[in-house]
């Protein structure tokens, strides 16, 4: 029995592509299949066991940095015998890369194996919304922990909690420079002649909450940056070592005026109040609604859908489970099963899920990371704080389409003898496989070509 089109939509529009049998599981009641994933999410998949927590990473980085600069200050000839030798100058990079590869590999495994692909899609969406990118090498060892610690626990929680967790995470504070931002009038600012860094404040307004047209000015950015001074990462001898700290010594003293409201000097509370306001701001509701609709409905979602999502967000005070249910309930989400194009990561993961790949041989996870690099989406490496694009034109261009064809051909070649083309077509595409595709598959010059044609077909690359 061929699964209904709605089953394809459930496992692709809202999932990560069908593993063999998944279309059948979703077929009976696609919406309930999705809603069940929201009911009992696996908050911490076992694959993540053993990955380091961010405070440990931060403290190790600080230790390495201290040891390296100490070794530089002290010539080798004077090094006391018996003293442990200093770490190599590239030790920080190696430490970060090692953790990064483990994190990237673990995320690939989770996306490959998950029985709750909707949850993983939400993690990917919110992780992209609050991008922490290894384009800044300083967060190489923290980007994965950021997603696990700050994003994952809140994807069907409240937006306000998600926002706070993201902003206060060492990964974000370092990535967008707030850890170093210093009030010019603060004790440390006056003493060391250091000043403001507006990076986090600006992106919080432009990307994370209000949106670029959300009704704020440059003055608001500066004021918000002043409010957020002191929000930083704790050193080993401070409170909460390696985690969030509010430092009075770098906080800009005095009253701030932000978005028309007065914020009398209140230390950390100023930032908490400002973020609470932003989480409930109507512009934030609209901005999130538009992004959510772009992710789950269409590149240019109908204004009515955006308005509905914004209303749900506002009415439920940013209940992200309610927002997700609204997307599942939207008739528009089910109307055009192939409206969206898969990102490179979604494409690669879908291809591996479709063939029930197990990356249990040494080096296979690195091969997948290599493939993602070739297709332009290195894990945790979004080109800017705005994250990866969420429109077809960001993914499908002349180069990309050829790269994806090469990837499909290479994967098919490696799968030789394990995949039967017509079965693959049925279990991965089911009702949306076109006659043209099944004809092309039948006429393909080899099984390899047939499998590659399925993987490279428009219906496989869309969701």
């Amino acid at each position: 029995m061929t699964a209904p089109v709605a089953a394809f939509t459930a496992v692709n529009r809202f999932g990560l592509g069908a593993r063999p049998g998944e279309l059948g599981e979703a077929a009976a009641d696609p919406k309930s299949w999705l809603l069940a994933q929201l009911a009992q999410p696996d908050a911490s998949p076992a694959i993540f066991t053993g990955l380091p927590q961010s405070p440990d990473v931060v403290l190790e980085l600080l230790t390495l940095r201290r040891q390296i600069s100490a070794a530089r200050a002290e010539p080798a000839s004077q090094a006391a015998p018996g003293k442990p030798s200093a770490p190599a100058p590239d030790a920080i990079g190696r430490f970060g890369r090692e953790i990064y590869l483990r994190e990237a590999s673990a995320r690939i495994q989770v996306q490959l194996q998950t029985r709750q692909p909707l949850i993983e899609r939400l993690v990917a969406f919110w992780s992209n919304h609050f991008t922490v990118s290894i384009a800044r090498p300083a967060v190489l060892g923290l980007a994965g922990a950021f997603e696990r610690e700050a994003i994952r626990p809140h994807v069907i929680g409240r937006f306000h909690d998600l926002l706070l967790a993201a902003v206060r995470h060492p990964g974000m504070l370092i990535y967008l420079d707030n850890a170093q931002s210093t009030g010019p009038g603060s004790r440390v600012g006056r003493l060391r002649n250091r000043g403001l860094n507006e990076n986090l404040a600006r992106e919080l307004l432009e990307l994370h909450t209000l949106g670029v047209d959300g009704g704020y000015t440059q003055a608001d950015v500066t004021q918000f940056a002043r409010i957020l001074t002191g929000w930083s990462v704790a050193g080993p001898r401070e409170k909460n070592p390696g985690g969030f700290i509010f430092r009075h010594g770098t906080h800009e003293p005095g009253e701030k005026v932000f978005l028309g409201d007065r914020y009398p000097e209140a230390g950390e509370k100023e930032g908490l109040d400002a973020l609470a306001l932003l989480a409930r701001h109507p512009s934030t509701a609209r901005h999130i609604a538009r992004q959510f609709a772009t992710q789950f409905i269409a590149d240019d979602p109908p204004p009515a859908v955006v308005a509905r999502f914004a209303e749900v967000f506002r009415r439920t005070d940013g209940d992200l489970a309610a927002l997700t249910r609204a997307a599942i309930d939207a008739p528009e989400a089910w109307a055009e099963p192939l409206a969206k194009v898969k990102t490179a990561n979604e494409f690669v993961i879908a291809s591996l899920r479709a063939v029930d790949a197990r990356l249990d041989q040494p080096g296979t996870d690195k091969a997948v990371i290599g493939a993602l690099k070739g297709l332009g989406q290195v894990p945790f490496a979004a080109p800017s704080p705005a994250g990866w694009p969420d429109r077809a034109d960001g993914w499908i261009g002349p180069d990309a389409v050829m790269e994806r064809a090469d990837y499909a051909a290479t994967l098919a070649r490696r799968l030789r003898g394990r995949i039967e083309p017509s079965a693959l077509m049925e279990t991965s595409l089911g009702p949306v496989a076109t006659t043209a595709l099944s004809q092309a598959v039948t006429r393909a010059a080899s099984v390899d070509d047939a499998v590659a044609l399925i993987l490279a077909s428009p219906e496989f690359q869309r969701r």
Binding site: D360, V368, A409, R413, L415, R416, R418, P421
Partner: protein, 401 residues
């Protein structure tokens, strides 16, 4: 009709890891070597070895007919009746030295037109339906040898069906050369994309950009991809040759080449087919060189699932046909001969009115290799390796005495 034998399961064997080939010190059962080159997609035998002197050849082949040797658009001469495609000119010295024989009008027992099923039949050696393992693997298992080393070798991450089965085999892959999607595959993809504006426009521009950069470099469209495929084949052939040259190395190897399914723009002295033929010829010459003295004890055979139509189709190519050629190369081959019970190309002689009629059962050639070159006894070959092929007995005179 597709066989449902293959299952949609990725086994415990990993997805991407490629096991290295190990050379073992154990004694081999024979010093003879066999190389099987599988040409996937159906090689046009009438283009590879044109029967230029056949009275019906020129009229039946139309625009894809070669002129006689020496003339404009002429083929190379083999024996006054058959010629050689000029793109295979690298093989002419082997012909002169008696190391190349051609079996013409040959086919497996498969008579339909599906690539998959045709390749299954070719690789399993089945008579009417495909068996579960490859005939070459069964041959390895039947060699009088009880050692534990892998005597068979294939190239690439996955073992081709012809070598799959109970007997242990090894695999190897040239490093740093990963063949991209072939030009032929991209053309099929372009066809598949034509109803999707986004994908078809992107691929169209991608192909155009590729063609433009190649034009600047003075190459024909798609040649880089075909060249890359040929480079891979050359590197594979050279590597296989070196491994087989070693006394401790494998005795049987499989090479695979694609790009033969020339439905469009097949071309004559230039074009799609000429490009892949050129790559094939060059690779085989490299293989010979790499084998060194072991070449004298080597037989290489090229096999393909079926041939192509005699007539040109509406897009300058040929469609799926029946009989085709097999090339036999090596120091052990009794060469400089085109072995054919030539059926002729007159309309009434064609198989189903459109294909070259098969007059030689390809299994007869392969059985000869098993018996003479791999030293497997006749009973075993008949019963286990090519069951149901008694009507196609081994050919006595293919190899040197």
């Amino acid at each position: 009709m597709l066989t449902r034998r293959r299952v949609l399961v990725l086994g415990a064997a990993g997805l991407i890891a490629v096991p290295g080939i190990r050379l073992a010190l154990a004694t081999a059962p024979t010093e003879n070597r066999v190389v099987v080159v599988v040409l996937r997609g159906a090689l046009d035998g009438l283009a590879a070895v044109p029967p230029y002197a056949d009275k019906d050849y020129a009229s039946q082949r139309g625009s894809l007919a070669f002129a006689a040797p020496g003339e404009e658009k002429g083929c190379l001469d083999l024996d006054g009746h058959f010629g050689l495609n000029p793109a295979l000119g690298d093989l002419l010295p082997l012909w002169q030295q008696g190391e190349l024989a051609v079996i013409h009008a040959a086919a497996t027992s498969y008579r339909a037109h599906s690539h998959f099923d045709g390749q299954d039949m070719l690789e399993t050696g089945g008579a009417t339906h495909a068996l579960a393992d490859g005939w070459l693997n069964r041959a390895l298992g039947a060699m009088p040898y009880a050692g534990s080393r892998a005597l068979g070798l294939s190239v690439g991450p996955a073992t081709p069906l012809i070598l799959r089965g109970a007997a242990k085999t090894g695999s190897w892959e040239p490093e740093h050369i990963i063949p991209p999607a072939s030009q032929d595959f991209l053309d099929r993809l372009a066809d598949l994309y034509k109803d999707d504006a986004l994908f078809s426009q992107a691929l169209g521009e991608g192909l155009q950009a590729q063609a433009m950069s190649e034009e600047v470099m003075g190459k024909s469209a798609g040649s880089a991809r075909n060249l890359n495929g040929a480079q891979y084949l050359t590197a594979a052939a050279e590597g296989v040759g070196r491994l087989m040259a070693d006394p401790r190395g494998p005795r049987v190897a499989v090479l695979e080449a694609t790009g033969w399914d020339t439905h469009q723009g097949q071309g004559l002295e230039k074009g799609r087919l000429a490009l892949v033929l050129k790559g094939l010829g060059q690779s085989l010459v490299k293989l010979k060189a790499a084998l060194g003295p072991a070449w004298q004890r080597t037989v290489l055979v090229t096999v393909t699932e079926f041939g192509r139509t005699v007539a040109v189709n509406g897009t300058g190519g040929t469609d799926h046909g029946t009989a085709t050629v097999a090339f036999l190369l090596g120091g052990a081959v009794a060469g400089k001969r085109v072995i054919a019970d030539w059926p002729g190309l007159a309309q009434e002689k064609l198989y189903q009115g459109r294909d070259l009629t098969p007059t030689t059962d390809l299994r007869a050639v392969l059985k000869t290799l098993c018996q003479r070159q791999l030293e497997i006894d006749e009973m075993t070959v008949e019963n286990r390796i090519f069951p149901g092929s008694r009507q196609a007995p081994a050919m006595g005179d293919l190899l040197k005495a």
